[in-house]
Protein backbone atom coordinates (compact mmCIF):
# COMPACT_ATOMS: atom_id res chain seq x y z
CA UNK A 1 0.00 0.00 0.00
CA UNK A 2 2.83 2.37 0.79
CA UNK A 3 4.50 1.64 -2.52
CA UNK A 4 1.31 2.30 -4.41
CA UNK A 5 0.92 5.55 -2.58
CA UNK A 6 4.51 6.43 -3.42
CA UNK A 7 3.67 6.01 -7.09
CA UNK A 8 1.04 8.73 -6.68
CA UNK A 9 -2.03 6.59 -6.04
CA UNK A 10 -4.21 8.90 -3.94
CA UNK A 11 -6.64 6.14 -2.97
CA UNK A 12 -3.80 4.02 -1.61
CA UNK A 13 -2.56 7.00 0.37
CA UNK A 14 -6.03 7.64 1.78
CA UNK A 15 -6.16 4.06 3.00
CA UNK A 16 -2.99 4.80 4.93
CA UNK A 17 -4.59 7.96 6.26
CA UNK A 18 -7.57 6.04 7.58
CA UNK A 19 -5.26 3.54 9.27
CA UNK A 20 -3.14 6.16 11.04
CA UNK A 21 -5.28 9.27 11.42
CA UNK A 22 -6.57 8.50 14.91
CA UNK A 23 -3.07 7.93 16.26
CA UNK A 24 -1.69 11.03 14.55
CA UNK A 25 -4.61 13.17 15.66
CA UNK A 26 -4.19 12.01 19.25
CA UNK A 27 -0.51 12.78 19.16
CA UNK A 28 -1.22 16.25 17.85
CA UNK A 29 -4.02 16.75 20.36
CA UNK A 30 -1.91 15.80 23.36
CA UNK A 31 0.91 18.04 22.22
CA UNK A 32 -1.14 21.03 21.10
CA UNK A 33 -3.72 20.84 23.87
CA UNK A 34 -6.78 21.79 21.83
CA UNK A 35 -8.70 19.81 19.21
CA UNK A 36 -8.95 22.52 16.54
CA UNK A 37 -5.22 23.05 16.39
CA UNK A 38 -4.71 19.32 16.50
CA UNK A 39 -7.02 18.85 13.49
CA UNK A 40 -5.18 21.54 11.53
CA UNK A 41 -1.84 20.03 12.41
CA UNK A 42 -2.97 16.53 11.49
CA UNK A 43 -4.32 17.71 8.13
CA UNK A 44 -1.11 19.59 7.35
CA UNK A 45 0.90 16.57 8.36
CA UNK A 46 -0.96 14.27 5.98
CA UNK A 47 -0.64 16.73 3.11
CA UNK A 48 3.08 16.98 3.80
CA UNK A 49 3.32 13.19 4.05
CA UNK A 50 1.68 12.76 0.64
CA UNK A 51 4.02 15.31 -0.89
CA UNK A 52 7.14 13.74 0.62
CA UNK A 53 6.15 10.10 0.51
CA UNK A 54 8.97 9.27 -1.88
CA UNK A 55 11.45 10.15 0.87
CA UNK A 56 10.19 7.28 3.00
CA UNK A 57 12.82 4.56 2.69
CA UNK A 58 11.45 1.86 4.96
CA UNK A 59 11.47 1.33 8.70
CA UNK A 60 8.64 2.27 11.01
CA UNK A 61 6.04 4.09 8.93
CA UNK A 62 4.23 5.34 12.01
CA UNK A 63 7.52 6.80 13.32
CA UNK A 64 8.01 8.49 9.95
CA UNK A 65 4.49 9.92 10.12
CA UNK A 66 5.02 10.90 13.76
CA UNK A 67 8.05 12.90 12.75
CA UNK A 68 5.95 14.86 10.27
CA UNK A 69 3.26 15.42 12.90
CA UNK A 70 5.87 16.54 15.46
CA UNK A 71 7.37 19.01 13.01
CA UNK A 72 3.91 20.28 12.13
CA UNK A 73 3.23 20.82 15.85
CA UNK A 74 6.46 22.78 16.22
CA UNK A 75 5.60 24.85 13.16
CA UNK A 76 2.13 25.62 14.43
CA UNK A 77 3.37 26.60 17.87
CA UNK A 78 5.99 28.87 16.32
CA UNK A 79 3.30 30.43 14.17
CA UNK A 80 1.20 31.00 17.29
CA UNK A 81 4.05 32.83 18.96
CA UNK A 82 4.29 35.17 16.00
CA UNK A 83 0.51 35.65 15.89
CA UNK A 84 -0.68 35.44 19.50
CA UNK A 85 -4.28 36.41 18.59
CA UNK A 86 -4.85 32.89 17.35
CA UNK A 87 -3.88 31.30 20.61
CA UNK A 88 -5.85 33.92 22.53
CA UNK A 89 -9.04 32.83 20.78
CA UNK A 90 -8.35 29.30 21.79
CA UNK A 91 -7.71 30.42 25.35
CA UNK A 92 -10.96 32.38 25.48
CA UNK A 93 -12.91 29.40 24.27
CA UNK A 94 -11.45 27.36 27.07
CA UNK A 95 -11.74 30.00 29.80
CA UNK A 96 -15.52 30.25 29.39
CA UNK A 97 -15.71 27.62 32.07
CA UNK A 98 -16.71 24.86 29.76
CA UNK A 99 -14.25 23.44 27.33
CA UNK A 100 -15.97 23.84 24.02
CA UNK A 101 -15.29 21.44 21.23
CA UNK A 102 -13.76 18.85 23.46
CA UNK A 103 -13.14 15.80 21.35
CA UNK A 104 -15.23 12.81 22.11
CA UNK A 105 -13.31 10.10 23.82
CA UNK A 106 -13.53 6.76 22.16
CA UNK A 107 -16.03 4.53 23.96
CA UNK A 108 -14.46 2.42 26.68
CA UNK A 109 -16.00 0.13 29.26
CA UNK A 110 -19.27 1.21 30.79
CA UNK A 111 -19.04 3.22 34.01
CA UNK A 112 -21.41 5.12 36.24
CA UNK A 113 -21.99 8.87 35.96
CA UNK A 114 -20.03 9.69 39.11
CA UNK A 115 -17.09 7.67 37.94
CA UNK A 116 -17.33 9.30 34.56
CA UNK A 117 -17.29 12.75 36.14
CA UNK A 118 -14.33 11.90 38.34
CA UNK A 119 -12.62 10.36 35.42
CA UNK A 120 -13.21 13.53 33.45
CA UNK A 121 -11.66 15.68 36.15
CA UNK A 122 -8.70 13.38 36.50
CA UNK A 123 -8.21 13.39 32.74
CA UNK A 124 -8.35 17.14 32.76
CA UNK A 125 -5.79 17.29 35.55
CA UNK A 126 -3.42 14.98 33.67
CA UNK A 127 -3.88 16.99 30.49
CA UNK A 128 -3.15 20.21 32.31
CA UNK A 129 0.01 18.74 33.79
CA UNK A 130 1.03 17.54 30.32
CA UNK A 131 0.47 20.98 28.88
CA UNK A 132 2.58 22.47 31.67
CA UNK A 133 5.60 20.50 30.47
CA UNK A 134 8.15 22.16 28.19
CA UNK A 135 7.40 21.26 24.59
CA UNK A 136 10.37 18.94 24.05
CA UNK A 137 9.51 16.97 27.21
CA UNK A 138 5.83 16.88 26.33
CA UNK A 139 6.42 15.42 22.87
CA UNK A 140 8.47 12.56 24.29
CA UNK A 141 6.07 11.87 27.16
CA UNK A 142 3.08 11.80 24.79
CA UNK A 143 4.77 9.48 22.32
CA UNK A 144 6.03 7.00 24.93
CA UNK A 145 3.44 7.11 27.69
CA UNK A 146 0.30 8.06 25.79
CA UNK A 147 0.90 6.36 22.47
CA UNK A 148 3.24 3.56 23.39
CA UNK A 149 6.15 4.20 21.00
CA UNK A 150 9.46 2.66 21.88
CA UNK A 151 12.57 4.76 22.44
CA UNK A 152 13.99 4.12 19.00
CA UNK A 153 10.83 5.26 17.24
CA UNK A 154 10.73 8.39 19.35
CA UNK A 155 14.39 9.08 18.57
CA UNK A 156 13.58 8.74 14.87
CA UNK A 157 10.51 10.93 15.14
CA UNK A 158 12.20 13.79 16.93
CA UNK A 159 15.55 13.40 15.26
CA UNK A 160 17.53 13.12 18.49
CA UNK A 161 19.75 10.41 19.95
CA UNK A 162 18.44 7.69 22.26
CA UNK A 163 20.19 9.23 25.25
CA UNK A 164 18.31 12.47 24.73
CA UNK A 165 15.01 10.60 24.56
CA UNK A 166 15.75 8.77 27.83
CA UNK A 167 16.79 11.95 29.57
CA UNK A 168 13.82 14.00 28.42
CA UNK A 169 11.37 11.23 29.27
CA UNK A 170 12.76 10.77 32.78
CA UNK A 171 12.60 14.48 33.50
CA UNK A 172 9.12 14.73 32.01
CA UNK A 173 7.86 11.96 34.27
CA UNK A 174 9.42 13.57 37.34
CA UNK A 175 7.76 16.90 36.52
CA UNK A 176 4.43 15.21 35.85
CA UNK A 177 4.70 13.55 39.24
CA UNK A 178 5.31 16.88 40.95
CA UNK A 179 2.42 18.48 39.06
CA UNK A 180 -0.04 15.69 39.76
CA UNK A 181 0.69 15.83 43.48
CA UNK A 182 -1.06 19.19 43.41
CA UNK A 183 -4.29 17.49 42.37
CA UNK A 184 -4.09 14.96 45.17
CA UNK A 185 -7.85 14.69 45.78
CA UNK A 186 -8.43 13.57 42.20
CA UNK A 187 -5.75 10.96 42.18
CA UNK A 188 -6.36 7.28 42.69
CA UNK A 189 -5.80 5.85 46.12
CA UNK A 190 -2.58 4.13 45.17
CA UNK A 191 -1.10 7.41 44.05
CA UNK A 192 -2.12 9.15 47.27
CA UNK A 193 -0.87 6.32 49.47
CA UNK A 194 2.59 6.69 48.01
CA UNK A 195 2.59 10.37 48.84
CA UNK A 196 1.47 9.76 52.42
CA UNK A 197 4.10 7.07 52.92
CA UNK A 198 6.78 9.49 51.82
CA UNK A 199 5.60 12.18 54.16
Amino acid sequence: MIREAQRGDLDAFNRLVLAYQSRMFNQAYRVMGDPDSAADVAQEAFISAYRNLRQYRGGSFRAWLSRIVTNACYDELRRRKRRPATSLEALMAVSDGVRMNDPTPLPSRAEGPESAAERGELTQAIEECLQALPLEFRVVAVMVDVQGYDYREVAEAIGKPLGTVKSRLARARARLRDCLQGHGELLPASFRLENEAIR
Partner: protein
Protein backbone atom coordinates in the same frame (compact mmCIF):
# COMPACT_ATOMS: atom_id res chain seq x y z
CA UNK B 1 9.07 16.04 49.54
CA UNK B 2 8.91 13.54 46.74
CA UNK B 3 11.49 10.81 46.67
CA UNK B 4 12.02 11.60 43.01
CA UNK B 5 13.30 15.05 43.90
CA UNK B 6 16.09 13.50 45.92
CA UNK B 7 17.23 11.24 43.15
CA UNK B 8 20.24 12.03 41.03
CA UNK B 9 19.50 12.59 37.36
CA UNK B 10 21.29 9.40 36.47
CA UNK B 11 19.27 7.30 38.86
CA UNK B 12 16.09 8.95 37.62
CA UNK B 13 16.96 8.02 34.04
CA UNK B 14 17.83 4.48 35.06
CA UNK B 15 14.57 3.98 36.89
CA UNK B 16 12.60 5.48 34.01
CA UNK B 17 14.34 3.25 31.46
CA UNK B 18 13.89 0.27 33.77
CA UNK B 19 10.14 0.81 33.70
CA UNK B 20 10.20 0.64 29.90
CA UNK B 21 12.53 -2.35 29.73
CA UNK B 22 15.15 -0.21 28.07
CA UNK B 23 18.13 -1.12 30.24
CA UNK B 24 20.81 -3.55 29.19
CA UNK B 25 20.98 -6.87 31.04
CA UNK B 26 23.97 -5.69 33.04
CA UNK B 27 22.42 -2.35 33.99
CA UNK B 28 19.18 -4.08 34.91
CA UNK B 29 20.97 -6.54 37.21
CA UNK B 30 22.84 -3.73 38.94
CA UNK B 31 19.72 -1.69 39.44
CA UNK B 32 17.76 -4.61 40.80
CA UNK B 33 20.56 -5.32 43.28
CA UNK B 34 20.35 -1.73 44.45
CA UNK B 35 16.57 -1.85 44.66
CA UNK B 36 16.82 -4.75 47.04
CA UNK B 37 19.14 -2.77 49.30
CA UNK B 38 17.77 0.78 49.06
CA UNK B 39 14.18 1.42 50.19
CA UNK B 40 14.32 5.02 49.00
CA UNK B 41 15.10 3.84 45.50
CA UNK B 42 12.17 1.43 45.65
CA UNK B 43 9.80 4.25 46.63
CA UNK B 44 11.08 6.37 43.78
CA UNK B 45 10.41 3.54 41.38
CA UNK B 46 6.86 3.20 42.67
CA UNK B 47 6.28 6.94 42.27
CA UNK B 48 7.44 6.82 38.70
CA UNK B 49 5.38 3.78 37.96
CA UNK B 50 2.15 5.31 39.29
CA UNK B 51 2.79 8.48 37.30
CA UNK B 52 3.30 6.54 34.10
CA UNK B 53 0.14 4.53 34.73
CA UNK B 54 -1.86 7.71 35.20
CA UNK B 55 -0.61 9.23 31.96
CA UNK B 56 -1.25 5.98 30.10
CA UNK B 57 -4.81 6.07 31.35
CA UNK B 58 -5.57 9.07 29.17
CA UNK B 59 -8.27 8.01 26.75
CA UNK B 60 -7.81 8.00 23.03
CA UNK B 61 -10.00 10.65 21.42
CA UNK B 62 -11.94 10.36 18.22
CA UNK B 63 -10.75 12.60 15.37
CA UNK B 64 -13.36 15.24 14.56
CA UNK B 65 -13.29 14.40 10.86
CA UNK B 66 -11.50 12.32 8.29
CA UNK B 67 -8.16 13.62 7.08
CA UNK B 68 -8.27 11.80 3.76
CA UNK B 69 -7.05 13.94 0.91
CA UNK B 70 -9.12 14.94 -2.09
CA UNK B 71 -7.71 15.71 -5.55
CA UNK B 72 -8.75 19.36 -5.07
CA UNK B 73 -6.80 19.66 -1.83
CA UNK B 74 -3.78 17.99 -3.38
CA UNK B 75 -3.89 20.26 -6.42
CA UNK B 76 -4.39 23.37 -4.32
CA UNK B 77 -1.50 22.53 -2.04
CA UNK B 78 0.85 21.24 -4.69
CA UNK B 79 4.08 23.10 -5.04
CA UNK B 80 4.59 24.94 -8.32
CA UNK B 81 6.31 22.99 -11.08
CA UNK B 82 9.17 25.44 -11.02
CA UNK B 83 9.92 24.62 -7.38
CA UNK B 84 12.53 21.91 -8.02
CA UNK B 85 14.22 24.16 -10.56
CA UNK B 86 14.25 27.02 -8.10
CA UNK B 87 15.84 24.74 -5.53
CA UNK B 88 18.45 23.56 -7.99
CA UNK B 89 19.15 27.10 -9.19
CA UNK B 90 19.63 28.31 -5.62
CA UNK B 91 22.07 25.52 -4.89
CA UNK B 92 24.07 26.09 -8.06
CA UNK B 93 24.22 29.86 -7.60
CA UNK B 94 25.38 29.42 -4.02
CA UNK B 95 28.10 27.00 -5.08
CA UNK B 96 29.24 29.35 -7.82
CA UNK B 97 29.39 32.23 -5.36
CA UNK B 98 31.45 30.20 -2.90
CA UNK B 99 33.75 29.12 -5.71
CA UNK B 100 34.30 32.71 -6.89
CA UNK B 101 35.04 33.91 -3.38
CA UNK B 102 37.36 30.97 -2.84
CA UNK B 103 39.31 31.74 -6.00
CA UNK B 104 39.62 35.36 -4.94
CA UNK B 105 40.79 34.57 -1.43
CA UNK B 106 43.12 31.72 -2.32
CA UNK B 107 44.58 33.66 -5.21
CA UNK B 108 45.55 36.48 -2.93
CA UNK B 109 46.91 34.11 -0.33
CA UNK B 110 49.15 32.22 -2.72
CA UNK B 111 50.17 35.13 -4.89
CA UNK B 112 50.59 37.85 -2.31
CA UNK B 113 53.92 39.62 -1.89
CA UNK B 114 54.20 38.05 1.56
CA UNK B 115 54.50 34.64 0.07
CA UNK B 116 56.79 35.92 -2.60
CA UNK B 117 59.06 37.58 -0.07
CA UNK B 118 59.92 34.20 1.29
CA UNK B 119 60.96 32.79 -2.02
CA UNK B 120 64.61 31.96 -2.48
CA UNK B 121 66.65 34.94 -3.36
CA UNK B 122 67.63 33.63 -6.74
CA UNK B 123 64.03 33.57 -7.79
CA UNK B 124 63.67 37.23 -7.23
CA UNK B 125 66.81 38.11 -9.02
CA UNK B 126 70.04 39.63 -7.90
CA UNK B 127 69.69 42.87 -6.07
CA UNK B 128 72.52 44.31 -8.05
CA UNK B 129 70.57 43.83 -11.20
CA UNK B 130 67.39 45.20 -9.85
CA UNK B 131 65.50 47.39 -12.18
CA UNK B 132 62.31 49.20 -11.85
CA UNK B 133 60.14 49.80 -14.76
CA UNK B 134 58.79 53.25 -14.17
CA UNK B 135 56.94 53.26 -17.43
CA UNK B 136 54.17 51.29 -15.88
CA UNK B 137 51.56 53.29 -14.03
CA UNK B 138 50.99 50.49 -11.54
CA UNK B 139 54.21 50.77 -9.85
CA UNK B 140 55.51 49.37 -6.71
CA UNK B 141 54.28 51.25 -3.65
CA UNK B 142 55.14 48.97 -0.82
CA UNK B 143 57.26 46.05 0.10
CA UNK B 144 56.31 43.12 2.18
CA UNK B 145 59.49 42.28 3.92
CA UNK B 146 63.07 43.11 4.28
CA UNK B 147 64.12 41.40 1.09
CA UNK B 148 61.56 43.17 -0.94
CA UNK B 149 62.38 46.40 0.77
CA UNK B 150 66.02 46.07 -0.09
CA UNK B 151 65.19 45.36 -3.66
CA UNK B 152 62.88 48.25 -3.81
CA UNK B 153 65.36 50.49 -2.17
CA UNK B 154 67.88 49.46 -4.72
CA UNK B 155 65.33 50.28 -7.32
CA UNK B 156 65.09 53.76 -5.93
CA UNK B 157 68.69 54.35 -6.65
CA UNK B 158 68.21 53.04 -10.12
CA UNK B 159 65.59 55.58 -10.78
CA UNK B 160 67.55 58.54 -9.78
CA UNK B 161 68.08 59.20 -13.40
CA UNK B 162 64.47 60.10 -13.85
CA UNK B 163 64.30 62.46 -10.91
CA UNK B 164 62.12 65.42 -11.64
CA UNK B 165 59.99 63.65 -14.13
CA UNK B 166 56.52 64.53 -12.99
CA UNK B 167 54.86 62.27 -15.42
CA UNK B 168 55.83 59.20 -13.56
CA UNK B 169 52.70 57.43 -12.58
CA UNK B 170 51.02 58.66 -15.67
CA UNK B 171 52.61 56.17 -17.93
CA UNK B 172 55.29 58.42 -19.13
CA UNK B 173 58.41 56.89 -20.46
CA UNK B 174 61.36 56.83 -18.19
CA UNK B 175 64.70 55.33 -18.44
CA UNK B 176 65.52 52.29 -16.56
CA UNK B 177 69.03 52.00 -15.42
CA UNK B 178 70.82 49.35 -13.57
CA UNK B 179 73.36 50.14 -10.98
CA UNK B 180 75.76 47.81 -9.30
CA UNK B 181 75.39 47.37 -5.61
CA UNK B 182 79.06 47.85 -4.85
CA UNK B 183 78.87 51.57 -4.80
CA UNK B 184 78.83 53.07 -1.37
CA UNK B 185 75.80 54.85 -0.22
CA UNK B 186 75.93 57.96 1.87
CA UNK B 187 73.52 58.48 4.73
CA UNK B 188 70.40 59.91 3.18
CA UNK B 189 69.20 63.23 4.56
CA UNK B 190 66.10 63.14 6.75
CA UNK B 191 62.82 64.18 5.35
CA UNK B 192 59.39 64.35 6.93
CA UNK B 193 57.14 61.49 5.91
CA UNK B 194 54.69 62.01 3.15
CA UNK B 195 56.59 64.80 1.57
CA UNK B 196 58.41 64.51 -1.60
CA UNK B 197 61.11 66.83 -2.64
CA UNK B 198 61.61 68.33 -5.99
CA UNK B 199 64.33 66.89 -8.00
CA UNK B 200 65.97 64.50 -5.62
CA UNK B 201 69.65 64.60 -5.04
CA UNK B 202 71.73 61.94 -6.56
CA UNK B 203 72.22 59.02 -4.24
CA UNK B 204 74.05 55.90 -5.14
CA UNK B 205 72.50 52.53 -4.43
CA UNK B 206 72.25 51.58 -0.77
CA UNK B 207 74.23 48.58 0.38
CA UNK B 208 72.28 45.85 2.07
CA UNK B 209 73.77 46.64 5.49
CA UNK B 210 72.89 50.26 5.16
CA UNK B 211 69.37 49.34 4.32
CA UNK B 212 68.73 47.99 7.78
CA UNK B 213 69.95 51.10 9.42
CA UNK B 214 68.06 53.35 7.15
CA UNK B 215 64.87 51.40 7.24
CA UNK B 216 63.34 53.64 9.80
CA UNK B 217 64.78 56.80 8.35
CA UNK B 218 63.22 58.92 5.80
CA UNK B 219 64.86 58.80 2.48
CA UNK B 220 64.14 61.53 0.09
CA UNK B 221 62.29 60.65 -3.00
CA UNK B 222 64.59 59.67 -5.74
CA UNK B 223 62.36 60.38 -8.63
CA UNK B 224 60.10 63.33 -8.50
CA UNK B 225 56.49 62.97 -9.23
CA UNK B 226 53.64 65.14 -8.27
CA UNK B 227 53.58 65.32 -4.50
CA UNK B 228 49.84 65.07 -4.47
CA UNK B 229 49.83 61.81 -6.34
CA UNK B 230 52.46 60.36 -4.10
CA UNK B 231 50.75 61.27 -0.87
CA UNK B 232 47.41 60.13 -2.10
CA UNK B 233 48.81 56.84 -3.13
CA UNK B 234 50.89 56.15 -0.12
CA UNK B 235 49.41 57.98 2.81
CA UNK B 236 47.32 55.09 4.02
CA UNK B 237 49.31 52.23 2.76
CA UNK B 238 52.84 52.87 3.94
CA UNK B 239 53.41 56.24 5.43
CA UNK B 240 56.84 55.33 6.68
CA UNK B 241 58.05 53.32 3.81
CA UNK B 242 56.75 55.26 0.87
CA UNK B 243 59.14 58.15 1.04
CA UNK B 244 61.99 55.73 1.16
CA UNK B 245 60.91 54.20 -2.04
CA UNK B 246 60.84 57.38 -3.89
CA UNK B 247 58.08 58.08 -6.27
CA UNK B 248 55.69 55.29 -6.63
CA UNK B 249 52.62 56.02 -8.57
CA UNK B 250 49.11 55.64 -7.25
CA UNK B 251 47.48 52.35 -7.85
CA UNK B 252 43.97 51.95 -9.16
CA UNK B 253 41.59 52.71 -6.34
CA UNK B 254 39.79 49.39 -6.35
CA UNK B 255 43.06 47.58 -6.24
CA UNK B 256 44.09 49.48 -3.13
CA UNK B 257 41.06 48.61 -1.08
CA UNK B 258 41.37 45.82 1.38
CA UNK B 259 45.12 45.87 1.24
CA UNK B 260 45.26 44.01 -2.05
CA UNK B 261 47.58 45.92 -4.21
CA UNK B 262 50.84 44.52 -3.07
CA UNK B 263 53.17 44.16 -5.87
CA UNK B 264 56.77 44.75 -6.17
CA UNK B 265 59.22 44.66 -8.88
CA UNK B 266 62.02 42.31 -9.22
CA UNK B 267 64.24 41.52 -12.08
CA UNK B 268 65.43 38.16 -13.19
CA UNK B 269 69.02 38.03 -14.28
CA UNK B 270 68.12 38.90 -17.83
CA UNK B 271 67.03 42.35 -16.67
CA UNK B 272 63.39 42.14 -17.54
CA UNK B 273 61.10 43.75 -15.04
CA UNK B 274 58.39 41.54 -13.68
CA UNK B 275 55.68 42.25 -11.22
CA UNK B 276 53.03 40.33 -9.43
CA UNK B 277 49.47 41.25 -9.85
CA UNK B 278 46.62 40.64 -7.44
CA UNK B 279 43.92 38.15 -8.26
CA UNK B 280 41.61 40.96 -9.27
CA UNK B 281 44.08 42.23 -11.79
CA UNK B 282 44.55 38.83 -13.28
CA UNK B 283 40.85 38.10 -13.27
CA UNK B 284 39.10 41.44 -13.47
CA UNK B 285 35.71 39.82 -13.93
CA UNK B 286 36.03 37.98 -10.58
CA UNK B 287 34.48 40.69 -8.45
CA UNK B 288 31.59 40.96 -10.85
CA UNK B 289 31.13 37.21 -10.67
CA UNK B 290 31.10 37.25 -6.87
CA UNK B 291 28.48 39.97 -6.70
CA UNK B 292 26.45 38.45 -9.50
CA UNK B 293 26.34 34.94 -8.09
CA UNK B 294 25.70 36.20 -4.59
CA UNK B 295 22.75 38.29 -5.73
CA UNK B 296 21.42 35.42 -7.83
CA UNK B 297 21.65 32.96 -4.94
CA UNK B 298 19.80 35.32 -2.61
CA UNK B 299 17.09 36.03 -5.19
CA UNK B 300 16.51 32.38 -6.01
CA UNK B 301 16.47 31.44 -2.32
CA UNK B 302 13.81 34.07 -1.66
CA UNK B 303 11.71 32.80 -4.58
CA UNK B 304 12.08 29.22 -3.39
CA UNK B 305 10.96 30.13 0.12
CA UNK B 306 8.05 32.05 -1.25
CA UNK B 307 6.94 29.13 -3.42
CA UNK B 308 7.26 26.82 -0.45
CA UNK B 309 5.18 28.99 1.84
CA UNK B 310 2.45 29.43 -0.70
CA UNK B 311 1.99 25.71 -1.16
Amino acid sequence: MSELEQLSRRDLERLSAYLDGALSAREKARLEARLRLEPGLRRSLRELQSTVELVRSLPEVRPPRSFALTPDVVAARARPRTYPYLQLGTALATLAFIFAVGVDVLGNVFFSPYSQAEMPREEVGEPAMLALDTRSPELLTEVAGEMGFREALSADKVNEGVAGDESIGEGAAAEVTELPMEEATPEPPEQPPGETSGPAPETPPVEPEAVEASEEEEVPAVAATSAVATEAALGEVAPNVAPMLGTPSPLPSEAREGGYPYEYAFAPPDGRALRFRSTLERLPWLRLAEVGFGALAVTLAALTLRARRRS
